[in-house]
């Protein structure tokens, strides 16, 4: 999914898995619900990777099931993060499947990816477009009465916990364009709920009333006009659909 900061800079973070049909990555199917910011993904049990696409570099924290797996700096371009900071491939599924499966021991960090040894970001952070907390400021009065403002270190954000919950925190790397006056380092987050295919199908069946329908194509010159972009959008208002009756509670 694409995440954007207040300056309009964006980076795309998505889960990818290996395609059985041909030897390449593929993006699992998923859905979104009206009452949740989580992206529900249909992921077969086994190894997966994170595809990070950005025109700028980014710093990432990756949590799975509430546990921090990776803290890394990712260069610009299209990068695939396949393993945690201990070199273990990212894996989704119960432990017995993990032990029985042939994990790709050659999982590696993409070129240019730097792994941090510490547990989290130690820089300042402010509330971005997401669920981060506020950066707190301590005002200390020094001996001569002048306030000394220091930035309190951000407590590591408590990652959501749950089976298959993949939580990614990202922020943009410094951009040389700005020189010494770098923009605030906003943290932005994305939550993915990885679900095995059977569970995913059952859960979708139980959530269809809240499913967000995909948007219509908006590129009139796409080569495949699977739907016509010139059809009128018909708005029928005779049945009170503008009264807002029947809101979900």
């Amino acid at each position: 999914m694409k995440i954007t900061d207040k300056l309009g800079r964006s980076l795309s973070v998505d889960v990818v898995v290996k395609a059985p049909l041909i030897d390449m990555w593929m993006e699992p199917l998923g859905y979104n619900l009206t009452d949740s910011a989580t992206h529900f993904l249909r992921v077969p049990e086994g190894q997966f990777a994170l595809r990070v696409m950005s025109q700028l570099g980014a710093d990432l924290l990756v949590h799975l099931n509430g546990k921090l797996l990776l803290s890394a700096a990712v260069p610009k371009g299209i990068q695939y993060l396949e393993c945690d900071q201990e070199g273990n491939p990212f894996f989704f599924g119960p432990p017995d499947v993990r032990e029985a499966g042939n994990l790709n021991k050659n999982a590696f960090f993409a070129d240019g990816v730097m792994v941090f040894a510490n547990d989290g970001f130690t820089g300042d952070s402010v509330d971005g477009d997401s669920t981060t907390g506020d950066g707190a400021t301590n005002n200390e009065i020094t001996g001569d009465g002048v306030e000394d403002q220091t930035i309190v270190l951000q407590e590591p954000l408590a990652a959501p916990f749950g089976d298959g919950v993949l939580f990614v925190v990202a922020r943009f790397a410094d951009d040389p364009i700005y020189g010494e006056c770098q923009p605030p380092r906003q943290e932005i987050t994305a939550t993915f709920q990885l679900q095995a295919p059977e569970d995913h199908d059952k859960n979708l069946a139980g959530s269809l009333s809240r499913l967000i329908q995909p948007a219509l194509p908006d590129e009139p010159d796409e080569v495949i006009k699977v739907t016509s972009s010139s059809r009128p959008k018909f708005v029928c208002t005779c049945t009170g659909c503008n009264t807002g009756k029947g809101h979900a509670h």
């Binding site: 795309s12 059985p20 219509l216 908006d218 739907t227 959008k233 708005v235």
Partner: protein, 592 residues
């Protein structure tokens, strides 16, 4: 008819086709109210949107808010028509519509919606002959109150905001005949109590177990008689408007309650038959215009073919959109229960022009043979059903299998087109999957691979100018959604059916009833929320606000409580919970 017409000729043409549609509709068994057509500018129509098209509806700040929201959102597209549940009905036609589009909306609005309003029993109590006058009177009364120096806007808003917050809590239509009033029921229970006590005295002396049983019955009746009202009621506005229940409430507030209640009752059937009504109109917008009496010229049919499929732009609409799903269900009913019963010959006057160039019907005619279709089942459903029953009964496995097959067919066609485009655009042949695999999982993999290529190609294009994959992300998402819905159906047919029924609007109104006003006990009012497992607990902020608004509308300062169920822990079981206010400002909460 392809030459350009001036406005008066265009009007004459539309009325001519209106007459033709009338002949066809009559033969098909459609019986709408008479219709007044109002020909309006787009701006005039959009001005009416917040009032749901009803001229003379009262002004209120929430309508201004909606108007602004509509304006910013581009009104969701061009408003082609609006039609009102009135008798005679009012149908607005937009001045920017082409002639074929006007015919489309006339068929859709009049022979679809107005016929539905006139025949579905849910609308029987909406009093369509007087609604325009009632709404105007309501507006005048509210305006008078606002202009009254003893009231003014602030006081009117103080009460109207609260009433609007509870506007959905009105009786469930249709009204059940022969139901006992609270007074009658109380009398009946009192008599039963007397009888039980008499029996306890006599029969209780014979058998102690009988005595215990009777005493239990007596206790239960006495407890019931201590409550007021005897029967819990969900008609909160009606209860508050009754002077017997709220003797200290100002008459003006009672008037406001009655106005909003009347308005809610008028619109309730429309909310509860959205899928049916839109489906009905979408069905007839095509079926009627193809009847021989209408005799559409070929060039109109080409334009109309596009309009007829406007709700099929996305295959997922066949599951999720009221128009497409509703139409699909009506067609299913027609396929399953309808049958052809012979042919009939229809005389169709040919079109000509008078000396001023206005289109007229000539004396010459042609005879056309048309198959007579029996649609008795459709007419029966039209009369007696609402959305809940419509979807519960007809959204069955057979319908789903048919729809799933249609949507998978759409996906396969898309895959074929994309394969061709990949080869044509010079992408690697590895990405074109021929033949198309039959299994759902393999089709999912194809879409997933294409999604990966599409996104990475877009990123590479932005960074290095490389070619973009020839399919948009939205198309691939649409394909992915269809495949997931079909897989979900295979996983749990019952649940997916249930969820689609829940998408019908009116069922998301929480079931909150007034169970006691404390008239015979402590004067505290008690509301009870009957939890629906499909929706789970209420939003806490809404509980507090609802309670505060309800407190305002009683004319008394006695406490109000709302009993509901909340989980003690996230995803834990629901347990009894109480919201309580004594002053209408501070709300206390606790687990019981």
């Amino acid at each position: 008819m392809s030459e350009k017409l001036n406005q008066s000729q265009e009007m004459a043409l539309l009325m001519l086709y209106d007459k033709r549609m009338g002949r066809a509709g009559k033969r098909l068994g459609l019986t709408p109210y008479l219709v007044d057509y109002w020909y309006l500018h787009d701006a005039q129509i959009t001005q009416l949107l917040p009032f749901v098209g009803v001229p003379g509806d009262y002004h209120y700040w929430n309508k201004g808010k909606e108007a602004e929201r509509n304006r910013q959102g581009g009104y969701g597209g061009h408003i082609y028509e609006m039609v009102l549940n009135t008798n005679p009905s009012v149908c607005y036609l937009s001045s920017t519509n082409t002639v074929p589009m006007q015919l489309h909306v006339m068929a859709h609005a009049v022979w679809g919606h107005v016929d539905f309003f006139a025949n579905n029993k849910m609308f029987a109590e909406t009093q369509p002959t007087t609604v325009l006058e009632r709404f105007k009177q309501a507006r005048n009364k509210l305006t008078e109150l606002v202009d009254n120096p003893e009231w003014g806007w602030q006081n009117v808003e103080y009460y109207m905001d609260a009433i609007h917050a509870l506007e959905n809590f009105v009786p469930w239509l249709p009204t059940i005949e022969g139901r006992l009033s609270d007074k009658q029921l109380r009398e009946q229970l009192k008599q039963e109590l007397v009888e039980l006590k008499r029996r306890a005295n006599i029969e209780g002396e014979v058998s102690s177990s009988m005595k215990r049983q009777l005493e239990g019955g007596i206790a239960s009746l006495e407890a019931q008689l201590k409550r007021y009202p005897i029967q819990p009621t969900g008609d909160l506005l009606g209860f508050l408007a009754d002077p017997e229940n709220t003797p200290d409430l100002p008459e003006q507030v009672r008037m406001m309650l009655a106005i909003v209640r009347d308005r809610s009752l008028y619109f309730q059937p429309q909310a509860r038959t959205k899928f049916m009504n839109e489906g009905w109109a979408s069905y007839w917008q095509r079926e009627l215009l193809l009847q021989p009496e209408v005799d559409l010229p070929l060039e109109y049919r080409f334009d109309l073919a596009q309009s007829w499929t406007m709700h099929d732009q996305q295959a997922s609409a066949w599951y999720l959109d009221p128009y497409a799903l509703g139409q699909g269900l009506w067609r299913y009913i027609d396929r399953k229960y309808g049958y052809d019963e012979g042919e009939v010959s229809v005389k169709v006057p040919l079109l000509s022009k008078d000396k001023d160039g206005n289109p007229i019907e000539s004396r010459k005619s042609k005879s056309v043979s048309v198959t007579v279709r029996n649609r008795d089942k459709m007419m029966e459903v039209r009369r007696h059903y609402d959305d809940n029953r419509f979807l519960e009964e007809f959204l069955d496995e057979e319908f789903f299998e048919f729809t799933n097959e249609q949507s998978l067919d759409w996906v396969r066609r898309a895959i074929r087109m994309i394969n061709k485009a990949i080869v044509r655009s010079g992408w690697s042949a590895q990405l074109a999957f021929e033949p198309i695999p039959p299994s759902l999982n393999e089709m999912m993999q194809i879409v997933q691979i294409w999604m990966q290529v599409q996104k990475t190609s877009l990123e590479s294009h932005q960074q290095a100018g490389t070619p973009i994959f020839p399919v948009s992300e939205q198309t691939l998402k649409e394909m992915g959604t269809i495949l997931q819905i079909v897989a979900a159906f295979d996983a749990n047919k019952h649940q997916i059916r249930r969820q689609l029924v829940l998408r019908t609007g009116y069922h998301s109104v929480p079931n909150i009833q007034l169970v006691d006003t404390g008239k015979f006990s402590d004067n505290s009012w008690t509301l009870k929320h009957v939890v629906d497992d499909n929706f789970g607990p209420l939003l806490q902020s809404e509980c507090r606000d609802t309670l505060k608004f309800f407190w305002r509308l009683r004319g008394t300062a006695s406490p109000v409580r709302l009993l509901t169920m909340e989980p003690k822990q996230e995803k834990g079981p629901l347990e009894p919970y109480e919201y309580y206010t004594e002053d209408g400002e501070n709300v206390k909460e606790r687990f019981l």
